[in-house]
Amino acid sequence: MATLAAPLDHALSSRGPTATLLRKLFGRKIVLVGVAVIAVMALAAVAAPWITPYDPIALKVLDRLQSPRAAHWFGTDELGRDVFSRVVFGARYSLMISALVVVISVAAGVLLGLAAGFFRRLDAPLMRVVDAMMSFPDILLAIALVAVLGASMTNVVIALAIVYTPRVARVVRASALVVRELLFIEAARALGISTWRILFIHVLQNITSPILVQATFIFAYAILAEAGLSFLGVGVPPALPTWGTMIASSQQYADHAIWLALFPGIAIVLSALSLQMVGDGFRDLLDPKLRKAL
């Protein structure tokens, strides 16, 4: 923990560019609100077993389809399960799946993007593959991949990571192409620093901001896509309480139990919205055209 905290602490206390950026970022209301909402949701997901009044999978058929009331804030579902507890537990699955998608697609996208941006010979072939992959609509490619790999949580993560890797690769390549031409890279080369070190230390360090912006948006897209896959019945198994599976199974009861779809839907909108707010605020800050105007 100390090793993680130290650089952040240093960054915040010093007046370097990172500190200024962070201060400006958190000085924007929209970013602060977004971060706060996501933090609350993530905390609730972690603390789910302690803050939920009921077991999310405990069946109580006698209490089925109760509308929201004091005993069940968000009502109960067709099997008498507490919807509030399921929405909070759903955050665990939905946020974890999306976070894993972000980690894998960023790692793979950085590798591909750096390779394309730094090694001229690899650029054209790699980017053509990226172009081809981006000509499939996200959800179509994801359902095709899940169809082939089989519906499971791991395969949903793999499929969505494959879908979003090209987006990261494009951003990394574009940024790496600019950084590659900068003087300090030439200086590093002249000093005899190895290509790997230049790539993963010097170049990567200078393109983290656009990667972070992209990662925030991918997080939001992945939440929406995972829910979409589950809704279509090609996502995680219906037994797992993700927000998408909850909406999917609510369809039959939509006429007289709208709360079943309402609350997980609001959870999806809130999490995707707050992530986009953070990403937007961050992007505006990095955009030199807008930065002058702010």
């Binding site: 081809a132 179509l140 095709a144 909406i247 006429d255 999806i268 919205l273 986009q276």
Partner: protein
């Protein structure tokens, strides 16, 4: 110009070849024997062997790929296993609702996105800009299937203004069938208007900062004339790009929306193919949709040439 066109076409062919390769690889990623997977658990060994023979699945992968490509070149996307008919025919039969849904949704997205984007840019930083920007962000955060369910509940089930689901029989008049598409198109259009709104706003802001706008204002031209006559024309050119992007989003969105509203379109076909593991249909749909996307992007780049005299290749 001709050189540019030739290089673009060559690039397109290469991307389509890679798309075809990816589609082939994706459907061969399935663990185990694809024939056994396609036929399901109840199939006998004889059935599996027969299917393997029919599709050449018993031959080496490069041979299979070469055969598949040559069939593609002849416009043959294969035979649907479940529907017992050519994939091209299955896709063509389902094209109507998807086509109209996508076109209507694009129209709605443009009708919302372009005027709101202009207003947001002209009154930048004012309340109306903030409201529209918030709307854009919300639109990009709402799952279309959930929005569809909510609207269906309110306007179809509750108020009875629209049919709840379905598309009407093929025998009913086209207008009746299209009536079934209004609510789904609103859902898809509203959700996807966000991108157009943001893009129009950004493009309009760029143009409003240019010298010729300052000149027009200095000449004493009315603000309405400056915005509508001088700025809008130039600002809308880059917006065309985003319409291509929106098209891809709309096709993806249509897959989900069709399922919500029970529309018998291509999206619905793909989802049922996925559930039945009907690989030839999945392959065919992936290829056709990616091909459409590549073609539309090419068309947009060419359109640029026609409408923007500054763009020369």
């Amino acid at each position: 110009m001709i050189r540019y066109l030739a290089s673009r076409l060559a690039g397109m062919v290469i991307v389509m070849l890679i798309v075809a390769t990816l589609v082939f690889i994706i459907t061969r990623l399935a663990p185990g024997d694809p024939a056994a997977v396609m036929l399901g658990e109840q199939a006998t060994a004889g059935d599996v062997a027969k299917l393997r023979g029919t599709y050449g699945l018993d031959r080496p992968l490069p041979v299979q790929f070469a055969y598949w490509l040559s069939e593609l070149a002849h416009g043959n996307l294969g035979q649907s296993i479940f529907l017992q008919r050519p994939v091209t025919q299955a896709l063509a039969e389902r094209a109507e609702p998807t086509f109209f849904l996508t076109v209507f949704a694009l129209g709605i997205a443009m009708l919302i996105g372009i005027p709101c984007g202009i207003v947001a840019a002209v009154w930048r930083g004012k309340a109306v800009d903030q409201v529209f920007s918030a709307f854009a962000m919300l639109g990009a955060s709402i799952p279309s299937f959930w929005f569809g369910l909510v609207l269906m509940e309110i306007f179809a089930v509750g108020l009875g203004w629209f049919p709840v689901a379905g598309y009407g029989d093929p025998g009913v008049p086209l207008s009746d069938r299209l009536y079934h598409l209004i609510l789904p198109a609103i859902v898809l259009g509203v959700v996807n208007s966000a991108l157009i709104l943001r893009f129009t706003r950004a493009s309009m802001l760029d143009v409003l900062g240019e010298d010729h706008i300052r000149t027009a204002r200095a000449k004493g031209m009315s603000e309405a004339r400056v915005v509508l006559h001088h700025a809008l024309r130039n600002a809308l050119i880059p917006v065309i790009t985003v319409i291509g992007l929106t098209f891809a989003l709309l096709i993806g969105g249509a897959i989900v929306t069709e399922t919500v509203f029970g529309l018998p379109g291509v999206g619905n076909l793909v989802v049922s193919a996925v559930l039945r593991r009907d690989y030839p249909v999945i392959q065919g749909a992936l290829l056709v949709i990616a091909g459409l996307y590549v073609l539309i992007n090419l068309a947009i780049d060419l359109l640029y040439l026609v409408i923007d005299p500054r763009v020369k290749y």
